[in-house]
């Protein structure tokens, strides 16, 4: 009885200490904002994900530049900033969404990154981003389930819309998808499993975020979807092109001409004009319609 009571006290104490500790490490709004807004695409010393590893970023870029880029990366790129364009090109032209932060909030984030960079500098050296892409070929079961989830033949557990509502993947296993969002055929080569997992898990894109709000995609689903995308990328050379482009229109026009020619030949003996055409032609009525 007494022992049990003691045990309880120990547990209570440890919980209390842990909370205290974690409260102490929660440095402030910079960390919170980083985790919610940035961490799905960026790491600090964890290697590249969707976007670059941000460890030591404040040493590479000026604070002013970072604020501009975070607020609206696209307008910075459009303004012709060489550095911004270089980053954009290097990371497969995936635009970074505009962030609705104030200058001070951004400064907080940058300072958090600065602090975190020093802590994780050693760990970062251990892994390289290229290693993350090279992953084992996923199992056939995962790929099949991923394909089903992608085109909605199997529903997402929490009721989210199937991926092909907006995305397309050139793969014979799935029917053509939407063109509202990016074609995902080669996404795997750009982002790797970690990037995909991170994006699907916590979508950084406003539309996608809204679409999957309260309809979170489970970890397992993320895994098989990533597996499917990996498979789709590795097999893309073997898939038939579904983008017929102009060929379709031209073939349609030629087909129409051929069919019309065939019909006019088949029905060449048809009755082509009213029997009284000669009379009508000669009547030459000038219409008096208003």
């Amino acid at each position: 009885m007494k022992i049990a009571f003691l045990k309880k006290r120990v547990i209570l104490f440890s919980i209390l200490t842990m909370t205290m500790l974690s409260w102490q490490t929660q440095a402030g709004p910079g960390e919170n904002n980083f985790k919610t807004a940035c961490s799905s695409c960026h790491t600090i010393g964890g290697g590249k994900l969707v976007g670059p590893d941000l460890a030591g970023v404040s040493e590479r870029r000026s604070e002013e530049w970072l604020i501009k880029f975070i607020k609206s990366s696209q307008s910075l790129i459009k303004s012709g900033d060489a550095e911004a364009i270089a980053v954009f090109k290097k990371f497969f032209k995936i635009p970074m969404p505009d962030q609705p932060f104030s200058n001070s909030e951004i400064k907080d984030i940058i300072s958090y990154i600065g602090g975190a960079s020093t802590q994780t500098a050693d760990a970062a050296a251990a892994t390289t981003s290229d290693e993350a892409i090279v992953a084992a070929e996923p199992s056939a079961i995962d790929v099949a389930l991923g394909a089903d989830l992608f085109q909605g033949t199997v529903r997402l557990k929490n009721g989210g819309a199937a991926c092909n509502s907006c995305h397309d993947v050139k793969n014979d296993a799935v029917i053509g998808g939407g063109i509202l969002a990016k074609d995902l055929t080669s996404t795997f080569s750009n982002m790797g499993a970690a990037g995909i997992t991170s994006i699907i898990g916590t979508p950084p894109f406003p539309v996608m975020e809204a679409a999957y709000k309260d309809k979170e995609i489970t970890k397992d689903e993320v895994r098989v979807l990533a597996a499917f995308l990996q498979h789709a990328h590795s097999k893309k050379a073997n898939q038939q092109s579904r983008d017929y482009g102009l060929v379709l229109i031209v073939a349609g026009i030629i087909g129409t001409i051929v069919l019309l020619g065939l019909y006019s030949f088949l029905w060449s003996g048809r009755k082509k004009e009213p029997v009284n055409q000669a009379i009508f032609a000669r009547q030459k009525i000038v219409s008096t319609d208003e």
């Binding site: 029905w267 003996g269 009755k271 009213p274 029997v275 000669a278 008096t288």
Partner: protein, 517 residues
């Protein structure tokens, strides 16, 4: 022997005055509806002329009727194979301009137009679009115009005539024409029935009236092509095809069809005929020159005991057999041999027969010299320098048939598939009856000549008097011998009439007014 009864009609063309009363009666009863405005189940055409729809007789345009196919026959423009190939696009359909665009006038404008500088007018408006139109054509645009280049000269029946004969017909002052009233022929071998991919058209068992089931019709319009007489019409509003129903609701109640009832010239006769349905295919397939004679063979003698027995065995009621014995149609077609079918070469074995017109004035064209005549005329007068004379003088009161205004080839092209002998035979009989009556009533023709004429035509005095009676004096019940439809038997097949016994009779359909006391 499969004996059946068929309602048959006779139109006596000598009596038709072209008044269109029949057409109007029919229109008012049946086709005064949206989508049916352009239809004339009954129409009257001027011959020579192109008719309605234009050139309907030219089957190279419309591909109607049957054609010989080896030993048998096949549909010219429809049928199983052609029907399937053309099911979504029937290439030979008449268009609205082949008929005419139906129109009316804004009569109300005449009385309702506000006061203005000009007189109000009743503008023509299309009955299809409802918009004002310039009228280009009507269902009878060529009425009484037998010499026009647009209509008369385009008559498909003129192909067999020589240029000179055609010219002689077209000179306006020598205008010769007659009227051809047309309704559905209710054929024994109907091409429309054979062509229908939906099986919507059928021939009634009891009287042979050809009808289109409006529930089954699916608007393929193969019947419009297949009917060589162009007597099935497509209703663009209901999306169904329609045709003359021979006023069957009237027939079933013992009344003559509206067109016949209203006929001013009393040219129309109706009665039933017994025929052998087993021989239809055989007779529809005979060579063209035998068609008329063989079709006559198909019709059975209603007095023949064997025929009566076979008819009874086949379920033909006694009343139907009796009316077949009294039928004016049988008399005109078989007993007297006066009537001929219209365009038998279409091989549909029509049930409507025509007594060909014996035009009143016989005349001929002969060479002449006009100089003597011209010398008598003053300088102001118009001078003809033609070298021929249109000669209406005959050696006798009744000229010979050969001098008839209408060339025999023309009549033969219409009524006997080109066999002029059959036309002459009918006309001779008509002429003989006239000569016989002239001798009887006026007496300026010798008895010898009258008897000779009858003998030559194959008639005797009694027959001639009967023909005269049915042609000129016949009463309503002589002209229309309508077999009882026996609807009561049809009802008894479907329900037990005893159920109704005692539950109907004197009473009130609705409650009577309550009167407080």
């Amino acid at each position: 022997m499969d004996v059946r009864s068929q309602i048959s009609m006779i139109f006596h063309l000598d009596k038709c005055i072209g008044c269109h009363t029949c057409s109007v009666a029919c229109k008012n009863i049946w086709t005064d509806r949206k989508g049916a405005e352009y239809m004339w189940w009954n129409n009257v055409e001027t011959k020579p002329g192109t008719g309605y729809p234009g050139k309907w007789e030219d089957q190279e345009i419309y591909k109607g009727g049957w054609v010989k196919d080896g030993e048998g026959i096949k549909l010219k423009g429809a049928g199983k194979k052609k029907g399937l190939l053309n099911i979504f696009h029937n290439p030979h359909l008449p268009v609205i301009d082949d008929y005419y665009e139906p129109f009316t006038y804004k009569y109300l404008n005449l009385i309702e137009a506000p006061a203005a500088d000009d007189q109000p007018t009743a503008r023509p408006v299309s009955l299809i679009t409802g918009k004002p139109i310039d009228i280009k054509m009507g269902p009878n645009w060529d009425d009484d115009l037998s010499g026009t280049p647009d209509y008369a000269r385009n008559d498909p029946n003129l192909k067999k005539l020589s240029k000179a004969e055609q010219e002689a017909m077209f000179q306006l002052e020598r205008m010769a024409f007659y009227y051809l009233p047309r309704i559905c022929n209710h054929c024994l071998n109907p091409a429309c029935v054979a062509s229908c991919p939906s099986g919507a058209i059928y021939k009634r068992g009891e009287d042979g009236v050809v009808l289109i089931n409006q529930d089954k019709c699916r608007a393929w319009r193969m019947c419009v092509t297949a009917c060589p007489y162009k007597k099935t019409y497509y209703n663009w509003n209901s999306g169904k095809s329609e045709k003359c129903i021979l006023c069957y609701p009237r027939l079933e109640t013992g009344q003559a069809p509206a067109c016949m009832h209203s006929c001013v010239g009393r040219i129309r006769y109706l009665g039933n005929i017994l025929y052998d349905a087993d021989r239809i295919h055989e007779i529809a397939s005979v060579p063209e020159d035998q068609l008329v004679d063989k079709q006559m063979e198909l019709m059975l003698d209603p007095f023949d005991p064997k025929v009566i027995e076979a008819a009874k065995k086949n379920g033909v009621p006694d009343s139907t057999i009796r009316s077949a014995q009294r039928s004016p149609a049988y008399k005109f077609i078989k007993t007297w041999g006066l009537a001929l079918p219209l365009h038998p070469e279409y091989r549909t074995l029509p049930s409507l027969f025509y007594v060909p017109p014996l035009l009143p004035v016989m005349a001929s064209v002969s060479d002449t010299k006009n100089t003597e005549q011209q010398a008598k005329i003053g300088e102001v007068a118009k001078v003809w320098d033609d070298k021929w004379l249109y000669n209406t003088t005959t050696e006798e009161l009744f000229g010979s048939i050969e001098d008839a205004r209408m060339p025999m080839e023309y009549m033969a092209s219409l009524f006997s598939a080109g066999n002029t002998e059959q036309i002459k035979d009918r006309l001779k009989k008509l002429m003989a009856v006239r000569i016989h009556r002239r001798w009887t009533t006026v007496g300026d023709i010798s008895e010898e000549k009258a008897k000779g004429a009858l003998k030559e035509a194959g008639l005797d005095g009694k027959m001639a008097d009967e023909i005269y009676y049915l042609t000129s004096l016949a009463k309503f019940d002589d002209r229309f011998v309508i077999p009882a439809a026996h609807r009561e038997q049809a009802i008894e097949m479907l329900e037990f009439t005893g159920d109704k016994k005692g539950s109907t009779g004197f009473g009130f359909k609705e409650g009577t007014a309550k009167r407080g006391l």
